[in-house]
């Protein structure tokens, strides 16, 4: 028979949370059971704690901002649309786009032989044509933003998703691989870059082969 005096109130307060969890050995549990039968103070502590757990465990306790669900759904839907397009859609426009780039590049190489142009890096070009609400990803320690799934993303464990407008506002520059089509590159710039070997036309073919 266990009596109330087998355990002090202070010890009960130390163990009351484990008691509620059912995380006590049988002997201590029996001692506390006996103590609660005769000690109003400790019963108050136990009942109050149970009430706290019950109230906070109720999902109605959680309030979300107005419109939260709608905004979340919209962002998920946007993201899934991008994902579901996948390679098939990429390839659908990349192949003709790459062909056009090759043709245009050839023409510009020919024309640059007579008209000199200043060297321009694609990184320095403003990405004016990128839709501001396009979902892009950035990663810790990198300066570029990318389309989700781009092979050029470094540090993928620490990537985060945001809109292109936010990325530009935060000082990120568009990835010259996955966002190439949006970069405002002059014919002269491309020709000179190719001549400098920074962005050879072969890179486009490689991208295409990789499904990028």
């Amino acid at each position: 028979m266990v009596n109330k005096d087998a355990i002090r109130c202070e010890q009960v307060w130390l163990e009351v949370s484990n008691y509620v969890e059912g995380d006590l050995d049988a002997g201590l549990r029996a001692a506390m059971d006996a103590h609660f039968l005769t000690c109003a103070k400790c019963r108050s502590v136990l009942d109050g704690m149970r009430n706290v757990i019950q109230l906070y465990g109720d999902e109605r306790m959680i309030e979300v901002p107005a419109g939260f669900s709608r905004r979340l759904e919209r962002r998920i839907v946007q993201s899934t649309k991008i994902r579901s397009r996948g390679w098939s859609v990429w390839s659908a426009w990349l192949i003709p786009a790459a062909a056009m780039v090759l043709i245009a590049g050839g023409i510009r190489i020919a024309s640059s032989a007579t008209v000199p142009h200043p060297l321009r890096s694609e990184h320095a070009q403003p990405a004016r044509n990128i839709p501001s609400d396009m979902i892009v990803v950035v990663s810790a320690g990198a300066k570029d933003f990318h389309r989700p799934g781009c092979d050029a993303i470094h540090n993928k464990e620490q990537e985060r998703t945001l809109t292109a407008a936010d990325a530009i506002r935060q000082g990120y520059v568009p990835c010259v691989r996955c966002l190439r089509k949006y970069l405002e590159t002059t014919a002269a710039g491309r020709t000179d870059l190719e001549r400098e070997g920074e962005f050879p036309l072969e890179a486009t073919r490689e991208d295409l082969d990789r499904g990028h």
């Binding site: 307060w13 949370s17 109230l55 906070y56 999902e59 109605r60 959680i62 309030e63 979340l72 759904e73």
Partner: protein
């Protein structure tokens, strides 16, 4: 066959079966079903982020990012874990990373991660009456509960949130926060006792005044 009938007669089992089916379909590429999969947990995801960041806008942003990260990594989810726990763990990681980024360069208190020594003694021993859960329909009550939780130190608030609001078990709570099981138990005890005292104090200010308690008694 008994199993289909069991599922039909038990809404909980039916919901779990539906969730498993949705997970499998999303893993096979039907990403358009992802929102249906996470919708039941969106409030809990938001609450987990808010408990860490204490800012509505940041919490919403992190909740969204956590959902997108879960979608991106859905193939890594294994059935031995609960989906809700996995989702909450991703959210907590995102929120902790956000907080670390924003506090980069700021000096944190050396005591921040330590458990306080000494015991916490309850202060209020009034007769206890159970608060009906219907009271949570009242905005005033929800607000007071939220304020009491927000007033706890971060280390107590986070443990309490994961265990008693998000219903992670002790081990999962320890793993999610990167602390020991013993620390979780110590912090949980303190958080529960402190909240009990804080809310008992609220009773004196009358915010449970419309409850049908007997004169002179307190909710706890």
């Amino acid at each position: 066959m008994a199993e289909p009938n069991m599922v039909l007669n038990n809404p909980g089992l039916a919901a779990t079966a539906r969730e498993q089916e949705l997970i499998a379909q999303v893993q096979r590429g039907r990403t358009e079903l992802f929102y249906e999969l996470v919708r039941p947990y969106e409030r809990r995801v938001y609450a987990a982020a808010l408990a860490i960041l204490r800012n509505d806008a940041d919490a919403e942003d992190v909740a969204q990012e956590a959902m997108l990260k879960a979608l991106a990594n859905i193939r890594q989810f294994r059935a031995e874990a609960r989906f809700s726990t996995w989702l909450i763990q991703i959210t907590v990681n995102e929120a902790l990373m956000r907080r670390r980024r924003e506090r980069k360069g700021m000096v944190e208190s050396i005591d921040e991660g330590r458990d306080e020594e000494g015991e916490y003694a309850p202060r209020d021993f009034a007769d206890w009456r159970e608060i009906p859960s219907e009271e949570l329909e009242r905005k005033e009550v929800r607000l007071k509960l939220a304020e009491a939780l927000a007033s706890l130190d971060r280390k107590y608030r986070e443990v309490f949130m994961l265990r008693d609001v998000e219903h992670l078990n002790i081990q999962e709570t320890a793993e999610t926060l990167g602390i020991s099981v013993a620390s979780v138990k110590t912090r949980l005890l303190r958080a529960r006792l402190m909240l009990r005292d804080l809310l008992a104090g609220g009773w004196n200010q009358g915010w449970f005044s419309r409850l049908p308690f007997e004169k002179g008694t307190k909710p706890w």
